[in-house]
Symmetry: C2
Subunit: 211 residues, 2 copies
């Protein structure tokens, strides 16, 4: 089971590391952290991750995961990355994204006609690429699975693990990371949040996604 | 607000990155990722993180966070790290840990007489350092806050954010990472999991924590 994570500058670390903590522990998994070039990747929280492989090193994958980031759509200016995403998608069993990573799948032309989700602030932008924006935490359409904002990647990774390796493996990994969430506040989705706070956040985040 | 994360080889990435994604976005936060030496840190899922500072670079912090890892207790063999943890603790407003990171606080002598938690597999080991093992997801005792296994760090970080910066900031950050968890299975704590699977996992994880 070869799993490729796309890394890129200004990505959101948790979008990748949540699923990585789970998927990398599936028995038999080989994980490839791939970026335009091997080496350090500065995330949007300043933390440095490292890509172990360049795009040209990795030609196929059973599972592809694209994390989001504040500058996800500017990857449209990087045809080599979009071409790589398209070519890997042609080889996958599962093509997945977390948060605004779905905008990259969209820009790569992969979501046309497909139901997909994204961060709640950006989900409607998916229609730009003829995707069908869907406000659910995990959206599965054929072999494409997209997750909502950042932390939804953890839920998606467990869902995927059950599909790939069976429910007992998913259960063991969930128990291993003690994922019995108990958020101190019940404000983690836009319909639960204070409207004033929500709209301020929407405005601030959307400003990063101009076309 | 200076926030120091201890990084070390074979740490668990998500223990640190979950809280990092939240705490680093508190307005005015300055984050220091600190290890024995600056440079790459190989986590227990092979992912490389990077420490930006060495122990000797960082002499105080308002908030200290110690992530866990499969080899957390072998840090007892590293008196320089424990001495650093003790000296930083003397300067903090909050001293915190995620998962087996509490075993490092214990080994540093900080938990004696204090209630504390850890990963469900290792929580009872805290009594070795005269801590009072407490099976809760977040345990606050004075300025020491410990979180249970891996994913509990996300809940703790939001709890801490509200204390540090107020509830509106915590709410905004929770909504920003769309943390409205919906695990596909309800097996994330030992009392909810299948007993056979649970005991197999306990045996496998405990084997890493020998004294």
């Amino acid at each position: 089971m070869n799993i490729a994570f796309l890394f890129y500058d200004q990505m959101t670390a948790l979008d990748a590391i949540g699923p990585h903590e789970i998927l990398s522990r599936i028995p038999g998994a080989s994980v490839f952290r791939v970026a335009r070039q091997k080496g350090p990747i500065r995330t949007d929280s300043e933390l440095l991750l490292t890509a172990d492989h360049s795009l040209t090193d990795v030609r196929k994958a059973d599972l592809l995961l694209i994390p989001g980031g504040g500058n996800a759509t500017t990857l449209s200016d990087h045809p080599d990355i979009l071409e790589w995403v398209r070519s890997i998608h042609a080889t996958t069993t599962w093509t997945t994204s977390v948060c605004t990573g779905s905008l990259i799948l969209g820009a790569a032309g992969i979501l046309s006609g497909h139901r997909a989700t994204s961060h709640w602030v950006t989900v409607d932008l998916l229609s730009k690429w003829n995707a069908l924006p869907t406000r659910e935490r995990i959206v599965e359409d054929g072999k494409i699975i997209t997750a909502a904002g950042v932390s939804a990647g953890i839920d998606m990774a467990l869902y995927l693990t059950a599909k790939i390796a069976g429910e007992p493996v998913a259960h063991s990994l969930q128990l291993g990371i003690e994922y019995d969430p108990d958020p101190p506040f019940d404000v983690g989705s836009p319909d639960k949040a204070d409207p004033i706070l929500r709209e301020a956040l929407r405005k601030r985040l959307l400003a990063r996604f101009t076309y």
